[in-house]
Amino acid sequence: MFRVLCVPRPESLTGIVGWGVYIPRQRVKADEIASLWGFEKTLPKALWIEEKAVASVDEDTVTMGWYAAKVAIERGNVDPELIGAVFVGTESKPYAVKPSATIIADALGISKKKLSTDMEFACRAGGEGIRLAIALVASGTIKYGLAIGSDTAQASPGDVLELTASSGAAAYLIGPAEESVAQFEGVVTYVTDTPDFWRREGSKYPTHGEIFTGEPAYFHHIMSAVKMLFDELGLAPSDFDYAVFHQPNGKFPLQVGKKLGFPKEKILPGIVTPWIGNTYNGSALIGLAKVLEQAKPGDRILVATFGSGAGSDAFSIVVRDGIGERVGRGPKVEDLLKRKKYVSYAQYAKSRRLYIRNIG
């Protein structure tokens, strides 16, 4: 078999036309959670988690995804009637059965002639939504596709996961490369059956395999996907200006980047988890938005998502002309990081319904 080198990769026909992020205003300090549940004082620092974003009682995956998508459409200056697909990656659907994607799409006035579904693959379903949107745009099936990653991440009170599990959303409007400000150069996905983290039907909170979530899950899948991407594109870490990884805490992305050969200077610009927590399906995608908002035309960005169960998507993205003007069309990640109000654990518990009320 001979590989035909002159045929462009289909993903290179597509790019990011618009993007948007939402981070709730409330923050709770990781030190307060650690103190309340009797964790060692050094644990938040060891994980590099300072505080996490807490959705209000009237916020959920739908409302946060709606805001992020609204900004993405405004940044792209695209008529919502031209959007042919809406994918919502989440593991915290407000309804177990009833799509979030249709609520968001109707509320944004998006065309009724569209594909629309909620996707679940732990923290990487949003990344898979981007892959699907790329495929649909590249094939000419649709002109624009909207991929959203949104979560109000659950964690059992007192579980170490509670230090990081937070709320947030990111949305990407995928369209033709010539209309985009960041073009996809290559995309690969690596998935296996790995039992590192799960939530059973009817369970309120997820269960995880403690340290098992590290080497065989997070590190193996991200490194495998990124190495596959390097092989397919003939690229190396030195060819990239930025590297963005899924961020279950502040420490893991720096560690996986180091293993792959990236200096921390290329990773730090996309780090958000120490100040907002792990937004699950928003995690790597908010990091990408933060990088897009400081990148220059010609910069090459590596993005690697991760979802337990387990899998990783690796994207190579090249920034195009016009990025600076498009950044200014909506609130930036830095604006959302600065917009915050500290709340107590009690207020956090009320906001995230960690109590049992006698209703219904």
Binding site: V57, D60, G330
Partner: protein, 135 residues
């Protein structure tokens, strides 16, 4: 609180977006939807979507307890003058009472306003939140 599901479904466009009536004769804009202009009586009107932005003109705080709605209390209720010039009433969120004042710039945001817990529908609609700096 139990809502009529068909009634909510029929009205959802009005919950999800701010729809205004614009008169092609006198040029005035009114909230909500009319078949005739409430100012000049002309039937030559069109429905337009508001940009969803405006400023706070008046506000009050509500402690009114509605069955199964206690977790949303207290609420700040405001009169917002939209950029299109019309005034609407809505709930203010993401702002402390001490920060609310006349002239605060706000934008419409989709939020839960009620839910028939634990098995019923979740009702979404627009509230107002301060415009995020940079937007």
């Amino acid at each position: 609180m139990k809502y009529s599901i068909p009634k909510f479904w029929r009205r959802k466009e009005g919950y999800y977006q701010i729809i205004l009536t614009k008169c092609r004769e006198c040029g005035k804009v009114a909230f909500f939807t009319y078949v005739r202009c409430p100012y000049c009586g002309s039937s030559n009107v069109e429905l337009v979507k508001s940009c969803g932005r405006g400023v706070v003109e008046e506000f009050t705080i509500s402690y009114n307890r509605v069955e199964e709605g206690e977790e949303y209390l207290p609420k700040i209720i405001a009169i917002v003058r939209l950029n299109e010039g019309v005034r609407v009433v809505g709930e203010l969120v993401d702002i402390d009472l001490s920060e609310v004042k006349e002239g605060v710039e706000v934008e419409a945001v989709l939020r839960r306003f009620s839910s028939d817990d634990p098995h019923g529908l979740i009702y979404y609609g627009l509230k107002f939140a301060p415009v995020i700096k940079g937007a």
